[in-house]
């Protein structure tokens, strides 16, 4: 491997805070044909990670791979990640075995800003349902009302439904094939949901979305129409994960015009209104 090995503690004069740690794989559980749940022993990350933040993982190839934090167990120092196989790196990650030691960087990025909200509606599609589960966990911890909308291709494809139910939030599962609560995308399900909600809590409600761009764009539009605050978690190819390489940019609106903001440190979560779709 070309990977720079993590250095033994005490040999690192000048270090203030090294975002990289080596973590042991505690467990890997297959969730469905292409998705797995990876548990890492990573006390520092478990203690610090906020919902919407991510880790940048060694993945058997040259670059690290960014994966959102799906859950933490602070007591036991565990971090869980939900991984869908897309290519070589996620394929490698999905074949890890307990005991293997990985280089993990994190927690990274700006997560969802939940402060000031009394109700959070998460809208997830694809792998977006993983990081959003952590949002619902946090809502429960903080006594925020949670509603989770999750979109899947089909029931067979659905993951984390039991997790979400157990998280104590109101749940609404949509599938393209119509074999769950609602037929259609997560965004369509959100619209149905919003129509059924009283329209008196716009100010204290946040819509938090994570999933395919097209879904988030639709969610942002709906949020705008129904006048809810909305934050979206963007995905872009990354390298450094810490803001130095300018590889991971997405177009955003700023006071001075359009800018290329870095998903890794300025995001991945952005106010939906700032995103240029």
């Amino acid at each position: 491997m070309d990977k720079i090995p993590a250095d033994p503690a005490g040999q690192r004069h000048g270090i203030k805070y090294d975002p990289v740690t080596t973590c042991e794989v505690a467990a890997l559980v297959r969730l469905n044909s292409d998705t797995s749940q990876l548990t890492l022993k990573a006390p520092r990350i478990a203690a610090a990670a906020e919902p919407g933040q991510f880790v940048n993982l060694e993945a058997g190839h040259f670059l690290r791979r960014p994966i959102g934090v799906m859950a933490v167990d602070r007591q036991q120092g565990l971090v869980q990640l939900g991984i869908r196989v897309q290519g070589r790196g996620t394929e490698w990650l999905s074949r890890l075995r307990p005991g293997t030691v990985l280089s993990v960087m994190g927690p990274l990025g700006k997560g969802f800003q939940l402060e000031g909200y009394r109700r959070v509606i998460t809208v997830g599609g694809g792998t977006g349902v993983f990081p959003l589960y952590y949002v619902q966990q946090m809502c429960r911890e903080q006594g925020i009302d949670g509603i989770a909308v999750c979109g899947y291709r089909s029931k067979a494809d659905s993951v984390l439904t039991d997790h979400y139910r157990a998280a104590g939030c109101q749940v609404l599962f949509a599938s393209d094939e119509g074999d769950l609560d609602v037929e259609g995308h997560a965004a369509a399900a959100l619209e149905q949901l919003l129509q059924s909600l009283e329209m008196d809590r716009q100010e204290d409600t946040l819509i938090a979305a994570c999933g395919p761009n097209i879904m988030m764009q639709a969610v942002a539009k709906i949020a705008d129409v129904y006048q809810y605050d909305c934050q979206v978690s963007l995905e872009e190819r990354m390298a450094c994960g810490v803001g130095v390489c300018l590889v991971c940019v997405c177009k955003t609106k700023t006071k001075t015009g359009e800018a290329n903001s870095r998903c890794c440190v300025d995001g991945p979560v952005f106010p939906a209104k700032e995103v240029v779709w």
């Binding site: 000048g14 975002p19 810490v242 390489c245 991971c248």
Partner: protein, 305 residues
């Protein structure tokens, strides 16, 4: 054993041969959170242009075997904003400040060099080699005449050390290095990225929105080393070696081949604290071999005859 890592290269005395390569360290701000930047030799700023640039559309990175392609396309705040907002920060890191500038024309380089000449910077690195902007610096950098013109013009307006960062995408790197030396450069920086491409055959699309990008990382180290060694035999000005350095041994390979200092690029993206570890390991390796001054290694390679 006390080990002296200090070197002098291209008119700059540095506490360490490790410079952070342009475009892989921002202006140092993010990395400052991770370690004490004064352990470094210096930081080369992200490539600057006269006007601010948004850069290319994403995707801007693709992974390759032991390397990566990038097509950032010189996203930067422009030289003026740099001088106002970033340079003050860079000045107080405790290591040297090298300002990397990229122009579309001789005038661009001159205009930026003029602005820099009265600033508290340690060297100007002329990026004559960025493969990610359609016209401009890589074209200039692959033509000895244009390269000469740019360096002479910059030389005429500044006394700051001038480092010419060359592109490896040429038939003869020594020809370019000789031209740079003759035109008055204080050092040559070898190498910028190799032009490359990655393709997704299923979608029939290049991975990078810019189609092509610059290849960096360990994959290019053999090419970079060859160029350093070749140029060392041809020119007298110092060489700063770059390309695929991941560890302390890599640094020493470059120095032995002829580099007076080195730059670390892609390694920073994989391990933000890479330079800390490399610094530590350099001391260890030199200590084991009873070498007390790293600068004595430069150019000690004995070629087979």
């Amino acid at each position: 054993m006390k080990i002296d890592l200090s070197v002098e290269a291209g008119g700059v005395r540095m506490a360490s041969p490790l410079l952070m390569a342009s475009g892989t360290f921002g202006f140092g701000r993010e990395m400052d959170a991770f370690y004490d930047l004064s352990i470094l030799g210096g930081i080369c700023s992200k490539g600057l242009t006269v006007a601010p640039r948004l850069g290319n559309d994403p995707p801007r990175a693709a992974e390759t075997a032991s390397g990566m392609l990038n097509s950032v396309g010189l996203q930067n705040p422009g030289i003026d904003a740099f001088l106002e907002h970033e340079l003050p920060f860079m000045r107080q890191t405790g290591c040297k400040t090298i300002v990397n500038i990229a122009g579309y024309s001789v005038e661009d380089y001159v205009a930026m060099a003029e602005k820099l000449t009265d600033e508290a910077i340690d060297a100007i690195e002329l990026n004559l080699s960025c493969p990610n902007v359609r016209t401009g610096c890589m074209l200039i950098g692959s033509d000895p005449l244009q390269l000469t013109e740019v360096i002479q013009a910059v030389r005429a307006v500044t006394d700051k050390p001038i480092w010419a960062k060359l592109t490896p995408n040429v038939t003869s790197i020594s020809q370019m290095a000789v031209a740079a030396a003759d035109a008055g450069a204080d050092a040559v920086v070898l190498i910028n990225t190799l032009m490359g491409m990655a393709v997704d055959w299923k979608t029939r699309r290049p991975i990078l929105k810019n189609n092509t990008g610059g290849l960096s990382g360990p994959a290019i180290k053999p090419v970079a080393l060859r160029m350093v060694s070749e140029v060392y035999q041809q020119v007298d000005i110092p060489i700063i070696g770059v390309g695929g350095i991941l560890c302390a041994e890599d640094v020493l390979d470059f120095m032995v081949a002829g580099a007076s200092a080195v730059q670390i690029g892609t390694a920073n993206l994989i391990s933000p604290c890479a330079a800390v570890k490399i610094t530590h390991d350099l001391r260890q390796l030199l200590g084991k071999e009873n070498l007390t001054r790293i600068s004595t290694l430069t150019g000690t390679l004995q070629l087979w005859s």
